[in-house]
Symmetry: C2
Subunit: 380 residues, 2 copies
Amino acid sequence: MFDYTLSTTDGAARAGTFTTPHGDVPTPSFMPVGTAGTVKGLIMEEVEELRARMVLANTYHLYLRPGHEMVRRLGGLHAFMRWDGPILTDSGGYQVFSLTDIRSVHEEGVEFQSHIDGSRHTFTPESVMDIQRTLSADVIMAFDECPPGGGDRATAETANRRTYDWLRRCLDRFRALEQEVEGPAQALFPVLQGNVYDDLRREQARQFVDLHDWRGYGIGGLSVGEEKEDMWRVLEILDQALPRDRPRYLMGVGYPDDLLEAVARGCDLFDCVAPTRNARHGTAWTSEEGQVNLKAARFREDTRPIDPGCDCYACSRYDRAYVRHLVVSAEWLSVRLLSIHNLRFLVRLGEEARRRIGDGSFDTWRRDWLERYRNERSLV
Amino acid sequence: MFDYTLSTTDGAARAGTFTTPHGDVPTPSFMPVGTAGTVKGLIMEEVEELRARMVLANTYHLYLRPGHEMVRRLGGLHAFMRWDGPILTDSGGYQVFSLTDIRSVHEEGVEFQSHIDGSRHTFTPESVMDIQRTLSADVIMAFDECPPGGGDRATAETANRRTYDWLRRCLDRFRALEQEVEGPAQALFPVLQGNVYDDLRREQARQFVDLHDWRGYGIGGLSVGEEKEDMWRVLEILDQALPRDRPRYLMGVGYPDDLLEAVARGCDLFDCVAPTRNARHGTAWTSEEGQVNLKAARFREDTRPIDPGCDCYACSRYDRAYVRHLVVSAEWLSVRLLSIHNLRFLVRLGEEARRRIGDGSFDTWRRDWLERYRNERSLV
């Protein structure tokens, strides 16, 4: 269980299969985000139809509402969400560190105020393990210190040190829970920090690898405002530093072009709220025209699908003129259709990358794809 | 085409079939409202799964956005909405008369300002026929004067006179368009006004019946704030005054109890935005507990379906605890699931009424149903 089998590589790009108690995850794979136990607006049959394999849920949100104990009483996260496939929960670290004005960080953990009602709470490495054990996702994430993007070296050093200390505490608690508390098989992934400092990234990776034989690695602290070149360089460093036979989950990425660049640098799993957030703004990704906003007047009588190359429900059933009408009229169906399309766009990108890695054409295809996508974007 | 076959009656209640170019409508039948060419948040496969037969769309909204000519260029309303079943468009009269501060009524028609951008427009009986011909629904409604609820007798008299004048103009234009403009077969229904004044109601019905052999009748000016007893009395009067072999469409009704009361008084077709509007407020209709709001704390760990007696998708797949979590978290999926449930609740009520009329048990069943529904409501 939680094995990762690498089937082919093409340069640093990897095609593999990650095994979980709720099914296999072929990689590269984009994971839709189900923050509060729901992939915004979609039923799980639709998520299945996207051919998404693994979905995310947020520990911070579910801890506050409805509460992890409540989720347990309702049968655990799979039953609660009506999703029989693999689930990953994040650690809540990213969320509580985002609450910059209403949290304080101590060696012990993070005190924070709920964004819902201002009530006070504390997350510690131990409590976050307890919560995620109770939620019972397949993959759970270690509680890390995630400093804001653009921080200096000293901040990154402190965060790395604390992240490592907390990781050891997470591991101790995780092992104890596995012994003491009945529950499903779970895998704990650590979260690598180190900002854009190459030596800190290398050092943290080495520490983690030495500490334990993890079933996979979370790559944190990227896509938080740094230059793209810095992100690519860090991924190249980590590709060298991390074991090849374990999946790498690049947290919070991505946009289609970022996802492809990261696959090219050895990343396997991805998540991002952009597909559904963009949908709320009327924005769609297309293979022929890059990123478009359906509000644009040029779509008024456009009877082509949102993306003529796409096989999603929205593209097979509706046209741009109708979707534009829905967007302009602020009709919720537009959000639903664009969410389906954008999510499928990323899932399909993972599928195609995998196919291209399989037949050795990944690198050429990726270059062409990115050139077309970026050129088109700049024309819009 | 547009025949109405009465198969059984039980007291004044009627089971029949209304034939349209896009399929038959068994009555009594609730028609989901697709204001802007979309039943809020739902795809048409879901509307079909509700076993809704006929849907509504709003002339006022579609005229303003995307424009009726645009709908025509995009293939007409059926193609635009992706709905192959029967469609009825209202006349926009109700909407423009609701714009009390930004409209003025003349013999010629109604000048009004768009609620979207304040632009000025005029609806006349003729233009409303043109617009509805262009939209090309199966059933179209005459342009009537719909005074606000609670008006005095003089206002009702004026409205009746104008509604009758306008109806004649609608009929002339409708006939001319049928001759001159290529298009689908359509039926024009008049809209009966007269507020709660029995003699005005009788007089208007007689005028309309004398003017033309209409394929069906819209009953307007009810459910606008009058006492329920007044509404029931008016329906009883109209049941006597209108031809038995034509469907009666009670506009803007209803809530489940109102729908049953109206079926008992000879009404056949219904529409109302309550199912989807209530869904946005977290409210569901249930057969065992009346109208409930899912926000209530008592549903926190309730693992029963929204309505255990219901066969809709939401009830067969989710439980109250999860739906409550979605409502409390302001997740849009709650609106979608509750819309599906509430719409199915009304469609199913029509189906069951039809069955009960068929086997002669309608009246007993209705009394029991209403007593239970109302008692339960008062307990909540």
